[in-house]
Symmetry: C2
Subunit: 202 residues, 2 copies
């Protein structure tokens, strides 16, 4: 007797998710057998909802279920200051601090030779358009503190040289090698306060 | 801005699986956003297949996609020897050895005061029926070597006292290739209890 095909298929499906190894995936597949129909329907619905309802805000790239995200729509926020992040979920980390009232721009990744991600794959031209159209005065780069994030920050600084905009990068607090979405809000708050200018305003 | 409802729902769904914590579940939910439609459909199909096709063999309780499992249906196997396991998945471990040609009986758990599992919750009456009907001559109990597994084994031994059937429990001790100083005391205690003579007394 060998493992059942449908259990192997489900194990392989679960293995596609990050940080789910072979043994965890198998455990998850078996766990499904102990769930009742309503629980399984709930899981399937949740997967379908995320895949159909959630999309990126056409302005900033933050994930939203509305046409335009709640941050871009909020007239009370400061639309002249913009934090540039690699991924939409990094925005939540900054929102949790509660003291930042500017807007965001999601790049959808970081420049990476290893993963073959070039500047063209990122939402950089969209950022340049926004700077012109939305009268953005300050850009705070909040890419991750690793090789890809550093490369992306340097590339952005270079690209933004000729724009009339202050450019800084968050600095203090973030441990090197850490990841934004695992960082506590106190550390993030410090990193905002201690941001260092990498390009002066003209 | 707060986390999107559909992402929260999916994160909560993933958290229902064993060894999936809050952060892992959230990562999995976000990972889904990077998958294309065909991959997501594959995952949903895999979940549906497992939940609709897989059921327990009505004879031995092993998970199967057929009416009766391939082991119970196999006339070449020795149907008079039966290994009793706690969970269907334990059967695969024995099948991997390749030298056991008897049948199995799945209890669907182990007696546990902590988890409120009583003998009535297990497939014990089914085992007694099989001993009578299928002419089983030997029962090998292979519940786990822990408090619950030991309790279940002792309970079965007591229940089977009046049946004309040989009852044994798989041997416990040092795993092959293991190291003494890395072995826990429970295992070492078992290995002393289960010592085998290699030279008889004169």
């Amino acid at each position: 007797m060998k493992e059942l095909k449908s259990i192997i298929d489900l194990t392989n499906s679960f293995k596609k998710f990050p940080s789910v190894g072979s043994k965890s995936a198998e455990r998850m597949a078996y766990a499904l057998l102990d769930m009742d129909k309503s629980e399984i329907d709930e899981i399937i619905n949740a997967i379908e909802n995320v895949s159909t309802k959630v999309h990126q805000c056409p302005i900033c790239g933050v994930l939203t279920e509305n046409n335009i995200c709640s941050i871009c729509e909020d007239k009370n926020r400061n639309h002249s200051t913009c934090i540039v992040v690699s991924h939409s979920k990094d925005v939540l980390a900054f929102e949790e601090i509660g003291t930042y009232h500017g807007v965001y721009h999601v790049l959808n990744g970081e420049i990476s030779a290893y993963h073959g991600v070039t500047p063209k794959d990122l939402r950089i031209s969209e950022l340049l358009d926004r700077i012109d159209k939305e009268d953005i005065k300050e850009i705070i780069i909040a890419t991750n503190p690793n090789i890809e994030g550093d490369t992306t920050a340097l590339y952005l600084a270079e690209i933004l040289k000729n724009k009339n905009v202050k450019v800084s990068r968050i600095g203090f607090g973030m441990p090197i090698g850490g990841q934004l979405d695992y960082t506590d809000s106190y550390t993030l708050k410090k990193s905002l306060e201690n941001r260092t200018s990498i390009k002066e305003e003209k």
